[in-house]
């Protein structure tokens, strides 16, 4: 599949952003004592950020026909959202390296970690926005909808939320508030995804019947919604109440959400690109 590098690049980079943003938010919302109780769980997540960001950059290089010239891809940042995305993703990867380094070697240095995490989260979220803007093309109305701009943030929150929930589920000492916040994050992301699709469906029908059929007529689309969104919601419901769902169920939901995002992104690319050239 030609689009596989793009699918991996976008999903992995957005997952990495979620894995920085959510622990940073949790650390900011909880008091020092509760953060200390959560630290062993968050450490496992924090160490994953840099490898994920690095893997996403490798996937983006794999996509190029002439990867040795990749360094030139920043030169047209004045008008190209792709150049802006590359700059921001590069900066995010550098921040991710510092963030994972702090979790690995200086887990006790919470102030430094919070500062680096905050910078990484802001840069990462800007990079996710840039990725969304890359596909807001006037020549591709099938893609140019706000729900597709939002999709990257949804991926970051869904994968990030489930990954942190998974780590928290393994540590009995995690505070109840952390579980509640994670439940709200996952539910909000799932609601945003469904709401976006509720608006995108009628919009896309008016733009292209072929793309509508390729996307909404595909059984993988509905399977993704059922498993990749339904299962995380199933797990988030007890989290919101402060209860801890079974660790095995949380792990299964994490696998489901990652698979769901990969399927969703595959459909995003193939439903439009398989039709090109339109003329």
């Amino acid at each position: 599949m030609k689009e596989l590098p793009l699918i991996l690049f976008t999903v992995l980079s957005q997952a990495a952003v979620g894995l920085v943003a959510i622990p940073t938010v949790l650390e900011s919302l909880l008091g020092t004592e509760k953060v200390a109780a959560l630290q062993p769980a968050l450490r496992n997540v924090g160490r994953l950020v840099f490898p994920l960001a690095l893997a996403s950059l490798a996937a983006s290089l794999w996509h190029l026909g002439a990867p040795l010239g990749a360094y030139r891809a920043v030169s047209n940042f004045g008008s190209s959202w792709l150049a802006r995305e590359i700059i921001l993703m590069g900066l995010f990867t550098a921040c991710a390296a510092a963030y994972s380094h702090l979790w690995q070697w200086r887990p006790e240095n919470q102030p430094a970690r919070r500062t680096v995490g905050l910078v990484a989260a802001v840069v990462g979220l800007l990079a996710v926005f840039a990725t969304g803007m890359v596909y807001q093309l006037p020549s591709r109305p099938d893609w140019s909808h706000w729900s597709n701009l939002m999709a990257g943030f949804v991926t970051a929150l869904l994968i990030g939320g489930m990954a942190v929930s998974c780590a928290v589920a393994r540590h009995a000492g995690a505070p109840v508030e952390a579980r509640r916040y994670l439940g709200y994050i996952v539910l909000a992301a799932a609601a945003a995804l469904v709401l976006g699709l509720a608006f995108y469906g009628p919009y896309l029908t008016g733009v292209s019947g072929t793309t509508t059929a390729l996307l909404f007529g595909n059984s993988w689309f509905w399977l993704r919604l059922l498993v990749g969104v339904g299962l995380p919601v199933w797990v988030a419901a007890p989290l919101v109440k402060g209860e801890q769902p079974g660790p095995v169920l949380v792990r299964i939901a994490l696998v489901a959400v990652v698979a769901g995002e990969l399927v969703g992104r595959t459909l995003f690319y193939t439903s439009v690109l398989s039709q090109l050239p339109l003329f």
Binding site: L64, G65, G69, N76, F77, L82, A83, P138, L276, F279
Partner: protein, 199 residues
């Protein structure tokens, strides 16, 4: 000729779909199997007793507002003073973003080179005062090239777009087409080489 937007005139009424322009373009630019910088597409429709078919030969339209220039991350595309949009393959990194963005699919990815490529309006020939190779090759004189204003004056019935073509508002293509009556009828399919797309 400087500072005047150059463009192509395509006489859809006259074109018989012989593909001579396409072959001449491939030959001059030494293109591998796959990329066709000028493509002749056959638009078919209607039913007995009134079936119709017509050909549209189209390459890069050297748009006034070229989206490829805007979106290319490495700045491989430039618009010359005469309006021709040139792609510098030595700068291209093969990200394919231009192939997603151009409504006319003018930039095409060449698997053998790992880079995109497109019609340059034969600017090397144009700089010598000659016409692009496709125009020279057309046996029916269905293709013309020159300042867009002059082409429009010469062919007052020419239009910038046809119902079957992408919305010209997106890039303001520097092209004029001489339509034929069937262009307003809803086509059934577009045949592009070995690919047939139902409309």
């Amino acid at each position: 000729m400087a500072n005047k937007q150059l463009g192509f005139f395509i006489n859809v009424e006259r074109c018989i779909g012989c593909h001579a322009c396409e072959v001449a373009c491939k030959d001059k630019n030494d293109l591998e199997v796959g990329p066709r910088w000028r493509r002749v597409r056959i638009v078919e429709g209607g039913a007995y007793p009134k079936p119709f078919a017509y050909s549209i030969s189209m390459a890069c339209n050297h748009c006034k507002d070229p989206i490829c220039v805007k979106v290319c991350p490495v700045g491989a595309y430039t618009k010359r003073e005469d309006g021709l949009v040139i792609h510098d393959q030595s700068r291209c990194i093969g990200c394919r973003y231009c192939t997603f963005a151009c409504p006319y699919a003018a930039p095409q990815f060449d698997e053998s080179k790992g880079k995109a490529g497109k019609c340059s309006g034969c600017h090397d020939l144009v700089d010598k005062g000659q016409e692009p190779i496709c125009v020279q090759a057309c046996i029916l004189r269905a293709l013309e090239f020159g300042p867009l204003e002059e082409l429009q004056q010469k062919h007052p019935g020419a239009v910038q777009s046809l119902p079957v073509l992408p919305d010209p508002k997106v890039t303001d293509p520097s092209v004029r087409l001489q339509p034929r009556p069937e262009v307003n009828s809803r086509p059934a399919r577009i045949v592009d080489g070995h690919r047939t797309r139902q409309v």
